[in-house]
């Protein structure tokens, strides 16, 4: 029996949950013991590193800001140690770096599925209004702001409530000029400039997860309605639905971008029924396992796509499948931290541990 070795990043389930654990869970469900999962982490306290039964092995990797060369070197080291067939990056900031080294990774036998550079650029938050307009899809009016005066002008034009958004992550709904300026200061300090000021649209929040084939087609897509939303706007609970209109909007976007790989299309449905395009996220979302539970295992399809094999046709998914997150404490020992810090790898029986050295004199 050949065992597939798959590396997955985005391993933290915290206030802002990352997709890695959901991807891993989906792969295990599809492949059982025919998959060996290697977690890639940026912080020794990434929760997935310490969750029972999730990963077979895990390594620390440099932040994407260290650049493509450092990233390639580390992945090559990991491949030498444990072998890697497929890499599934699960964080937005990794994609530009991995795009640049995808060819070199393929030469080393590490397969990836990446959207094109153009597709990645056309779905950024500041480019989304142009994309939506070209496709005839409604989207909230958005103004790029670089300073306090620009924000005030945007507030005057778009009115309040006003959504102030970071370039990559985070958004705050503000209800007046002073609140907007405070959010601007906070988000600019955290994410840099420019920020985005966006018209507030009231409505229920829906997401569609999908796997694009890179030719304008969609291998599979699942729509959900958020049922529990955190203060950060994240779905802590959701339910799958059959909404042909939302699926059609998502398919239109993916088709126009000729998207290759996993993605999430976020939408709002206004009280008059109009769907508004809010964001296109360039990887699977943290709730990816909900789609698997509903009968559409997209990470499995992505692995097939990465290996150049045909993606199995997905049967219709079930509506009414729901999740609610259940946070538990993942515990570890000092030796676990030591191993991650000293060796950049989760604890192995063969690695000497500091507590053991101390105990043995």
């Amino acid at each position: 029996m050949s065992v597939l070795r798959v590396a997955v990043s985005g391993m933290h389930l915290g206030e802002n949950c990352q997709p890695g654990p959901g991807v891993v869970r989906s792969l295990r469900e599809a492949l059982g013991d025919r998959v060996h999962v290697v977690g890639l982490a940026y912080d020794v306290f990434d929760s997935g590193l310490h969750a029972d039964g999730l990963l077979d092995d895990a390594f620390m990797v440099p932040y994407p800001s260290a650049g493509p060369a450092a990233y390639l070197e580390r992945l090559s080291q990991i491949r030498e140690l444990v072998g890697l067939d497929v890499l599934i990056p699960c964080l937005d900031v990794e994609l530009p770096v991995i795009q640049r080294i995808a060819g070199a990774l393929a030469e080393r036998g590490i397969h990836t599925v990446m959207p094109s550079t153009e597709a990645l650029a056309r779905r950024t938050k500041d480019q989304l209004p142009a994309l939506a307009a070209a496709l005839g899809i409604a989207t909230p009016r958005t103004i790029t702001v670089t300073d306090a005066a620009g924000l005030a002008a945007a507030g005057a034009e778009l009115g309040y409530p006003l959504v102030v958004k970071g370039p990559f992550y985070e958004a705050e709904v503000t209800h007046g000029a002073a609140e907007a300026q405070a959010a601007f200061g906070k988000l600019a300090a955290r994410w840099g400039l420019p920020l985005l000021a966006q018209q507030f649209v009231k409505g229920e929040e829906f997401d569609v997860i999908a796997l694009g084939d890179g030719q304008g087609g969609v291998h599979g897509a699942v729509a959900m309605r958020k049922t529990v939303i955190t203060k950060l706007g994240k779905a802590w609970g959701a339910m799958t639905i059959h909404d042909d209109e939302l699926l059609a909007v998502a398919t239109k976007v993916i088709s126009a971008l000729r998207w290759r790989g996993g993605c999430e299309v976020e939408m709002l449905r206004a009280p008059d029924g109009t769907p508004y395009l809010i964001e296109v996220n360039p990887r699977f979302p943290a709730w990816v396992y909900l789609a698997t539970a509903a009968g559409t295992n997209l990470p499995q399809g992505l692995v097939e796509l990465a290996l150049g094999r045909p993606v199995p046709k997905y049967p219709p998914y079930r509506a009414g499948v729901f999740y609610v997150r259940h946070a538990v404490e993942a515990c570890g020992e000092l030796a676990d931290l030591e191993s991650l810090m000293a060796y950049g790898r989760t604890r192995r029986p063969t690695l000497a541990s500091l507590p053991e050295l101390i105990a043995n004199g």
Partner: protein, 92 residues
Amino acid sequence: MPTPDLPYDPAELRTLALSDTGFIFDPRTGHSYSANATGLATLAAMKDGLDPAAIATKLRAEFKGGAAVEDDVAGFVDLLRELGLVRARSAP
């Protein structure tokens, strides 16, 4: 078959999942509801394309309804409209 003489379109209700327990699920939105026995019977009759007068007659036969059953059916249809389960449609 279109039924233009009804104040609702039964086709809109056909995707609703109705359980004998009174649990109702709308797969288009993910919203779920619960109904009592008369509400469930009314919904089932609407799905079957019965008009309000026929529904009232059916309810009177199945339950011990009084004179106001027609009003109750009309109120129930209004509630379904408020919930977005059927769209507004003017009565003939």
